[in-house]
C-alpha cells in the first residue's frame, strides 16, 4: 500500500505500541515506511485508541478525515475478526488518488468517544508499570499493570499489551479470556467498526 501510493503524496506512518525496537523489528522487516516506537502509548491517549490495529486517515494539513477505525493490511485475521482488508485498502486508494472521502467532516466528528477517567488512569498505571519494569522492579510493575487492567478491562492497548510484559502469552488463554469478556461487554471500541465508512 505504501509503495503503491508513495508517488501520489502518501505515506503509511506506523506507530508501534511496544516496549522496544527489538520487539517490533521482526514485524517490519523490509518495509519502506516510517515506524515510530511508542512504549508509553502516548498516541492511545492523544487519539483515544483502545485496540490494534487502529488506522487514522490524516490529510495534508494534519486534519483527521477518517477517525479511528479497525482495519487490517491482510486477510490473515479475517476468520477471527470478520474484517476484510480489501474494502479499506480500496477506500484508501480512492482517497489518495481521487480525493474521495468515505464520510463528511460532520460525520467524522464525534465518531470516537472520549476516554473515560478510568481509561486515562489505566494508561498512567501502565506507564508507571513499564517504567518500574525497566528499572528492574518487577513487583511494582506487576501491581501497576494489574491496577491498569482492573481500570480498563476491555482496552486491548492496556490489558493485552500488559500480557507479554508480565510474562504471559498474548496469544494464549489470557487472550481468549479477554476476548470473551470483551464480546460479552458488547465489543467496546473507540471508533469506527471494520466495515463502517468505507
Amino acid at each position: 500500500m505504501h509503495d503503491e501510493l508513495a508517488d501520489a503524496g502518501f505515506t503509511v506512518l506506523g506507530v508501534a505500541l511496544d516496549d522496544s525496537s527489538d520487539a517490533v523489528r521482526p514485524w517490519v522487516d523490509n518495509i519502506s515506511f516510517p515506524v515510530l516506537l511508542d512504549p508509553n502509548h502516548l498516541v492511545t491517549e492523544l487519539f483515544a485508541i483502545s485496540n490494534v490495529p487502529t488506522v487514522i486517515w490524516i490529510d495534508e494539513d494534519d486534519r483527521i478525515v477518517r477517525p479511528n477505525g479497525v482495519a487490517f493490511g491482510t486477510d490473515m485475521f479475517k476468520d477471527f475478526t470478520g474484517a476484510e482488508a480489501e474494502p479499506h485498502l480500496n477506500a484508501v486508494r480512492r482517497w489518495v488518488r481521487d480525493g474521495e472521502l468515505p464520510l463528511t467532516a460532520d460525520d467524522a466528528r464525534g465518531r470516537v468517544g472520549d476516554l473515560s477517567p478510568n481509561e486515562i488512569l489505566a494508561r498512567l498505571h501502565f506507564r508507571v508499570a513499564a517504567q518500574a519494569r525497566h528499572q528492574g522492579d518487577e513487583g511494582v510493575a506487576r501491581r501497576h499493570f494489574e491496577t491498569a487492567v482492573e481500570l480498563a478491562p476491555h482496552d486491548w492497548t492496556i490489558r493485552r499489551a500488559a500480557m507479554p510484559l508480565m510474562g504471559d502469552d498474548p496469544f494464549g488463554q489470557k487472550f481468549f479470556d479477554m476476548y470473551t469478556e470483551w464480546q460479552q461487554a458488547g465489543s467496546p471500541y473507540h471508533g469506527l467498526g471494520p466495515s463502517e465508512a468505507l
Binding site: A8, F10, T11, V12, L13, V15, L17, D18, S21, A23, V24, P26, W27, V28, P34, L36, L37, D38, N40, L42, V43, E45, L46, F47, V52, P53, T54, V55, I56, W57, I58, D59, E60, D62, R63, I64, V65, P67, G73, V92, R109, G110, V112, D114, I120, L121, R123, L124, H125, R127, V128, Q131, A132, V140, H144, T157, R160, A161, M163, P164
Partner: protein, 135 residues
C-alpha cells in the same frame, strides 16, 4: 537527593524527595519535571498560564508537591513515591478538542533507530497512521 522518573510526554529523571503519598521537587526543578514553571501568575508553560488560587497548597516546606501541581493543572496523575515513579496525563482538553475539531494532535516519538520525529514532518502528505503492536 535521589532521582525519580517523571513520565509525561517523555520520561525525565529529576531529583525528588519521596513522602508517604507524593513526590516533592525543588521549585526550580519543576520545569524539568513537568514542563510547567511556577510564576507569579500561576503555573506556566510556553505562552499558557494556569492561575493558582492557593499557592500554599502546592508546597510542602520549601518543596513543590507534584500531586498538588497535577490537581492544580486538572491533570490526573499516578504517583508511586516508594518506587519513585510518577505519571501525569496529557492535555485532556487538547484531546477532546481534537476529537471535536478533527485537527490531529501533534506528537513526537522516536523511530526504531532512536531518531526523534514529529507528526508535522509529514505535512503535505496524506498519512495513514497505523497503530499496531507485536502482541
Amino acid at each position: 537527593m535521589p532521582e525519580a522518573a517523571i513520565i509525561t510526554e517523555e520520561v525525565r529523571a529529576v531529583d525528588a524527595t519521596a513522602t508517604g503519598d507524593t513526590l516533592l521537587v525543588a521549585p526550580g526543578r519543576l520545569p524539568d519535571a513537568l514542563g510547567w514553571e511556577l510564576k507569579p501568575q500561576g503555573l506556566c508553560r510556553a505562552d499558557a498560564c494556569f492561575p493558582v488560587r492557593e499557592r500554599d497548597v502546592l508546597f510542602v516546606g520549601d518543596k513543590v508537591d507534584l500531586g498538588a501541581v497535577a490537581v492544580a493543572l486538572g491533570r490526573p496523575a499516578v504517583i508511586d513515591p516508594a518506587a519513585r515513579i510518577a505519571a501525569f496525563a496529557l492535555d485532556g482538553e487538547g484531546r477532546r478538542s481534537a476529537l471535536e475539531s478533527l485537527q490531529a494532535p501533534a506528537f513526537e516519538l522516536d523511530d526504531l533507530d532512536g531518531r526523534r520525529h514529529n507528526l508535522e514532518e509529514w505535512r503535505g502528505k496524506k498519512k495513514l497512521l497505523v497503530a499496531f503492536s507485536s502482541w
